[in-house]
């Protein structure tokens, strides 16, 4: 283990559960205010319909029918990839360096996928029909509709991550039970129902396979698959087509996912004085990942721009020219490049590393990836192959109602972490005690060989 957290005691691990500070109360209040602001605006949308957004019909209508809601949906699914990156690193590759932030990443996956679902809910014109229309149609429509593929894969990802979390948490709760608050006894009883220490070995093997399943499904089938296919398969819009969308979407997802983990982990470290539990080495490692994923991001953007402007079909060329003439696009790319340069610089010269700087740049990356995703959707819809309409390209800027949903979703994620951290340990007990993989044959070999690789 390259990061020595063995000196950390259980009391430190359980600090979020045992403490209650005024800062915590303020944070909860702020999250509730953010959610309240969104609910206020969303009530208007429910009352008047989607007309309160700045969306409109493309074509003669002069607008775009998909906007910030869909852009934010993709963005949240991207952030949700943090869980799988970390659990794969720890469980499959034995990179125990990242053990302290693995559960935070998995919780972020649950929260981010919920927000992605929320954006679909508020995007549709008839949210009341999501169950009554979608469920009966599933058996036939899943054979055709890319949107139904998305619903299917995201649901599977959500369920697998939830199961992974529930299985791994039993070990911790059983051993920490004496130090956990009695008033939450029913919750712990439910989570550890039927637990015996004999199951540890079996559970460890089960979660290895679940992690293995997710590492194939989430990157390759979800963000490198059904999400870009929502766009890349359509015959209507010039800028969306092409096989590069899969890798490109995935690179953006991974970049934003690592940024998300850095921000949430740094927040916990700051709030609970966890310098020993989540040491600098974890963030230095995550910074290298951020740098590498940012490089892929920028490289795949380069692929699209070059193929789009050199000798592309006229409609694609036009869409690409507009894209690179959009200042906001360069803001997004610039924010990602900035993080990439910093990450590589700290790798070469470790004294340059500063956690506040990394967190600031990670926030910049999240802004950049959101901007890129919204531009992809909106500008994509502005440059149809059929552009005879004077209303094409249409116009769009998000309305207050739409922007408030972003604020509300961030509030939901914050409230989720504030609540969950009061109930379960957000850092695995394994991070400070014992080696989870030592008793499992299948993973030991992998863990040992890649442990050296994981050393940084």
């Amino acid at each position: 283990m390259s990061v020595d957290t063995s000196g950390v005691d259980r009391e430190t691990l359980l600090r979020p559960i045992h403490t209650r500070t005024s800062r915590y109360t303020i944070a909860v209040a702020a999250a509730l205010v953010a959610i309240g602001v969104w609910l206020f605006f969303y009530y208007q949308q429910l009352e008047h319909g989607l007309i309160v957004t700045n969306l409109a019909d493309w074509g003669s209508g002069g607008g775009v029918p998909w906007g910030l809601y869909i852009g934010a949906f993709i963005w949240w699914v991207g952030i949700a990839h943090g869980g799988i990156i970390l659990s794969a690193a720890v469980r499959l590759l034995g990179m125990d360096t990242y053990q302290p932030v693995a559960r935070i990443a998995e919780l972020l996956t649950i929260a981010a996928l919920s927000c992605a679902g929320l954006f679909i809910l508020i995007h549709v014109g008839r949210p009341d029909r999501l169950v009554t229309s979608v469920l009966p149609a599933w058996p036939t429509r899943v054979q055709w509709s890319p949107l139904m593929w998305d619903v299917t894969v995201i649901t599977a990802y959500f369920v697998l991550t939830g199961v992974y979390l529930l299985l791994t948490i039993r070990y911790d709760l059983h051993r920490l039970r004496a130090q956990l608050p009695d008033r939450l006894e029913p919750v712990y009883a439910a989570l550890t129902v039927g637990y015996s220490e004999r199951e540890d070995q079996v559970i460890e093997r089960m979660v290895w396979w679940i992690a293995f399943a997710i590492i194939i499904m989430a990157p390759l089938l979800l963000h490198g698959g059904v999400i870009p296919w929502l766009f890349a398969l359509l015959p209507s819009m010039a800028g969306w087509h092409g096989g590069v969308q899969g890798p490109s979407f995935l690179s953006i997802a991974l970049t934003s996912a690592v940024s998300g983990i850095i921000i949430v982990a740094a927040a916990f470290r700051y709030a609970y004085g966890w310098e020993e539990l989540i040491p600098d080495a974890v963030f230095r490692g995550l910074a290298k990942w951020l740098g590498f994923f940012s490089l892929l991001f920028v490289w795949l953007q380069l692929q699209q721009v070059i193929t789009g402007i050199f000798a592309a079909p006229t409609t694609l060329q036009h869409a690409t020219e507009v894209k690179i003439a959009t200042p906001l696009y360069w803001v997004a790319i610039g924010l990602v490049i900035l993080a990439m340069v910093y990450a590589f610089a700290t790798a070469l010269k470790p004294s340059l590393f500063s956690l506040p700087a990394l967190v600031g740049l990670s926030i910049g990356v999240l802004v950049g990836t959101l901007v890129e995703k919204v531009l992809f959707v909106v500008e994509g819809l502005m440059h149809a192959h059929f552009d005879l309409y004077s209303g094409v390209p249409g116009a769009y800027t998000p309305s207050a109602v739409e922007l408030s949903a972003l604020v509300g979703a961030i509030g939901i994620v914050a409230l989720f972490f504030l609540t969950v951290s009061k109930v379960i340990p957000v850092v695995e007990l394994h991070a400070i005690e014992g080696d989870h993989g030592s008793s499992v044959d299948a993973t030991t070999a992998t863990a040992e060989t890649s442990n050296t690789g994981g050393e940084r």
């Binding site: 014109g125 139904m148 116009a395």
Partner: protein, 405 residues
Amino acid sequence: MDDEEMRRLLEQSGYDADLGMRMAEDAQRVAAGELSETKFYGRYHEELLAEFGQDDREFNELRDDLDGEVVTEADDPDGLADRLASLADTEGLSRRELMAKGGAAAMALGVLAGSGGSATSVGGDSGGDDDDRTRWGMVINLNNCDGCLACMVACDQEHNLSRGSNWMYVFTYEDDYQEDDQNFLVRTCQHCTDSPCTKVCPVGARHTRDEDGLVLTDYDICIGCRYCEVSCPYGVNYFQWGEPDVPESEINDEHQIDSRGRWVGSRPPEGVMGKCTFCVDRQDGQMGEEKIGTTACEEACSMDAIHFGDMNDPESPPNQHLSAYFDDNENDRSEWENRSEHTVSSFKLLEERGTDPNVTFVGNEPSQHARQVEGPVTYESVGLVDNRKEVLDNGAMASAGGDDA
């Protein structure tokens, strides 16, 4: 129609009237959920084979005779829907509920006839090569169009559309590659045989009606995700962003509910997608027999530009217009026999997108460099709105009351 009348019709048909009566009763039980389709199928399969042999068509003859008239064009097992529904207890049921119930019974019969999927067929795989079936389509002669916008107004009124929701849209455009200053393009929904919108719909609300190829939206199922609008290369979809300009209380069910009992006609309700339906209410005979095979835009066109009809029927008005127009413009091939047969340009819009549209245009196709310009008659002067976003933006700013769109 009561039981006795139905029996009389069945007896006239020359088939086993008892069998027909028992089947109709059981079909109602299927509709009511008292009997499974499988059991229904099993119960009558042998008897039907004995009575009719294996040919589905003969079964349809029974249907035709039940109707008391022969439905010639549509190979439509659902035509039975309202007949069966009328046998049901109508007390306290709206026409929509009644038709839905009848539709379920007809679907059960459809299973028997070997075409059970048709009533619920949901796009994507609907074949277009079956020449026996009706395939509604249009031939639009752009050379005849003078840009008067009468078709747009007629469509707007017939379907109670909200401002800016231009199911029918006439472009006036300039094109460096065409001689005239003003060229026209008349754009309806293309009712594509290989329609992207039906493929991508997650819930099967956007679907191709099997019996006649109409691409329709089931307003009762649509969740308003707008994926159909995003996938359509033509931009023919208009979402109902706010409250519709015309309230539902002012629209008859005859305009809204099709022969299968599905709500697909007239303007959509709030939160749901709408587009040109090729006047489905007319095609189902709900506006009168004389309106079958016509559309509101075609009727309003005084320039003989729009020709609606069955594209699979060589004698239909669109096909006749096309061949007559070709004949009138025959090429002189006396010297050069490899010349084309006629001098008329015709095209399908964005055919290279692979959608197999059912609208054929006579005239020149706009080039990549064509741009829309103000026409001889402006949209505003006939009471229409061109850029709908202006209406929607007003709605977005208005608090209460002014949020129609």
